[in-house]
Symmetry: C2
Subunit: 423 residues, 2 copies
């Protein structure tokens, strides 16, 4: 969908960016109480606008059906009263979190009497580019506002009406709290040129967070001139070590793969130590087969009835489905080598009772999240106790792992002296 | 200087990048003792190679004189026994710092029994692009090594022989500690195409740190596809509030401007509250004039004998010289507005005995460093107690303010359960 010229799109984003920058300077100084009030006001307004939101969503659904969207996409797009309540609850839960701005992150004294504090500040302006789920409008805006940032939201073109109706409710919360309405802005066009302009908006947008499939995230990562918090894929590994407790291993492997297969923390590859396999047999693979998982097995493992032989391309693949790649390895060293080669730096879990082996796994890998005797499905801001997340990042810079309100802050140094001069 | 094609330069950086990545994976697991040994070994080797380093430097100096470099540039380039000793001392001082890798930055328990730790890890591969000072070779390599990162150094073309001789000493330290020699690599060419290839080396280099003048930093900031830690300019402001103690104010203003005028923390603009001026007269300006500073004064201030009238372009200018812009303002609000408009986000200092006014200054501004009753010349990693710095950053992402070894780390999450699964 392209009608805007590049110049038009850049002018539009420049205008939204200037509004956002102005709002951000107000938000940076806003009290915790006022941000809390805006979020609670927005939650109330979401509930009060239920029928308007449902009408807007119905319009989007008709359009999407005409366009022939897949049932999965239609499901992501669709809203009902319970999903609307969940959005309002999400806003309330973020409202009740501790305010991340102004926290003293570190402080120390210098021999010359200077007192130095590192204090959390907002990042500034956050751009969020997402696909069909309209609830991202509320979730992303809530975390941005909590952390004192202005946000520019560019929802999927399919969800434009739904997003607009939700945006209205959010703005009503801002208005009630006497905060600038431009603290939360929605890009008012379906035109894709606007996305391209956001990606180039250095100086206007401080960080871009893409929410969606690999196509969207890959595009954003390769084109953006603005910093990006994202993960491209969640190719999560579970490694069952020779010193694993077999009961714990069975429980964790099954949960890591099957609890929900479509999320980024779902396991995509099972590595089994040869000694574990010799001692305990094919239990881990059998459990998966019994649960209806397609096991693409390498080497000896493919002799287990019900598995299918793995192709080389099955390793390093994000299935997001009831499919798993499986392979025998010679100990933790080979597991580490495999994960370094095929992993995506998201989340990996080792199953072992051996502290030294776990330590080696933790040291040898540099994924954002490393686990021991726990399901990779815990890779989630809510499960980490962060209250909510805007996504999971695998970059090395700034925010890594689940990105909650705290991760949307930067810091500044406050240095206090008493007429102190440098010699 | 261009002989390499773009393809050649990219192949060269790809090779250095692959070496660095391999070295980085060894460094990430290296013990604190081994990194310490490599730094001490390098310091000893620097001292032992004094004559070789001085010979190489003499060669660079001859070349630079033929090229007609300015006396200031020649001074930055030149080495003598005391500068060589200072380099070795710098390496020893970084060696003695606490190891920043593996620190537990935060840890907490979840109700389901999971224990979560956030643990510091190296960033990976750091690219440093610098101008004529050959000592940056040792300083940057030391901080990178301490923080477990591999480094690719691209020194000024004028200092190539000096940098090579210093690099030899650093490599000898790595060798003695049995760490990979490719942990510290020097780009072996004067060709500028190599810089361009570094700036595009996404995936090979994790962060670029430019050290040099505005021309270099501006180029890096605008062209880099890799994250950059840098500041473009240090347009530092000092604001003398109505509630300033006049003695402290005189001491700090004079020091902030005159201690060293060529560093990024030197004050470039003095803002004086009208009430302070009415009460205490022109003392602050007079002190500067007496110290031989050219005061470019706005409005009434220009009536002080010895000042010269300010042009609009004097505000927001980084003089790096015995020159300062000066202006009267109506209180802290106008000072904040002025600094927001003309500052570069580096360092600003307020002189006041009034806590509420200081608080307003700290809240209203978002420079990397904000000070009270202290000289802006303290904007320095050493003065902050970080031991050493690789530079000062004004970006909002990741590292901000002085960048020491700690700021060259990222983190990962270590999650420990007991067969814990997600419901």
């Amino acid at each position: 969908m392209k009608d805007l010229t590049q110049t038009d799109a850049e002018a539009l984003i420049a205008k939204l960016g200037a509004n956002a920058r102005e709002a951000a300077s107000v938000l940076a100084e806003a009290t915790a109480e006022r941000k809390h009030a805006a979020l609670i006001g927005a939650a109330d307004a979401i509930i009060a606008s239920e029928s308007a939101i449902l009408d807007a969503n119905a319009q989007d659904m008709r359009f999407a059906e005409e366009k022939g969207l897949s049932p999965a996409m239609l499901d992501r797009l669709s809203l009902d009263p319970s999903r609307i309540r969940a959005m309002a609850d999400g806003l309330r839960s973020v409202a009740e979190q501790a305010d991340p701005v102004g926290r003293v992150l570190a402080e120390w004294d210098r021999p010359n009497g200077l007192h130095i504090q590192r204090v959390a500040t907002p990042l500034g302006v956050i751009g969020v580019i997402y696909e069909s789920r309209p609830n991202v409008t509320a979730d992303a805006a809530a975390l941005a506002l909590k952390s004192g940032n202005a946000v520019i939201l560019r929802g999927g073109s399919e969800s434009l009406h739904s997003s607009e109706a939700i945006h209205q409710a959010l703005v009503s919360g801002l208005r009630q709290a006497n905060l600038p309405e431009t603290a939360i802005q929605l890009v008012p066009t379906r035109d894709r040129e606007a996305v391209a302009a956001m990606l180039r908006a250095q100086g206007l947008i401080d960080v871009i967070i893409p929410r969606g499939g690999k196509g969207l995230v890959g595009l954003v990562q390769s084109e953006a001139r603005v910093p990006v918090f994202a993960h491209l894929e969640g190719i999560c590994h579970v490694y069952a070590d020779r010193d694993a407790d077999p009961d714990k291993a069975r429980r964790v492997v099954l949960n890591a793969k099957t609890r929900r297969t479509g999320i980024c923390g779902a396991a995509e590859c099972l590595l089994i130590d040869r000694e574990f396999f010799a001692k305990h047999g094919p239990v881990l693979v059998q459990d998966l087969l019994d649960a209806g998982v397609e096991v693409r097995a390498d080497g000896e493992l493919s002799q287990i009835a019900g598995t299918i032989p793995a192709e080389p391309s099955d390793f390093g693949q994000e299935f997001l489905d009831k499919i798993i790649a499986a392979k025998l390895v010679d100990g933790v060293g080979e597991a580490i080598d495999h994960i370094r080669r095929y992993g995506s730096g998201h989340t990996e879990s080792i199953l072992t009772e051996n502290d030294a082996t776990a330590e080696r796994f933790f040291k040898g890998l540099d994924s954002a999240i490393l686990m021991r005797n726990a399901s990779t499905q815990f890779a989630d801001g809510g499960e980490f106790g962060m209250g909510a997340e805007i996504g999971i990042a695998t970059g090395k810079m700034h925010a890594r792992g689940p990105v909650g309100a705290e991760q949307l802050t930067s810091f500044k140094y406050i240095v206090t002296g008493d007429g102190t001069i440098r010699s």
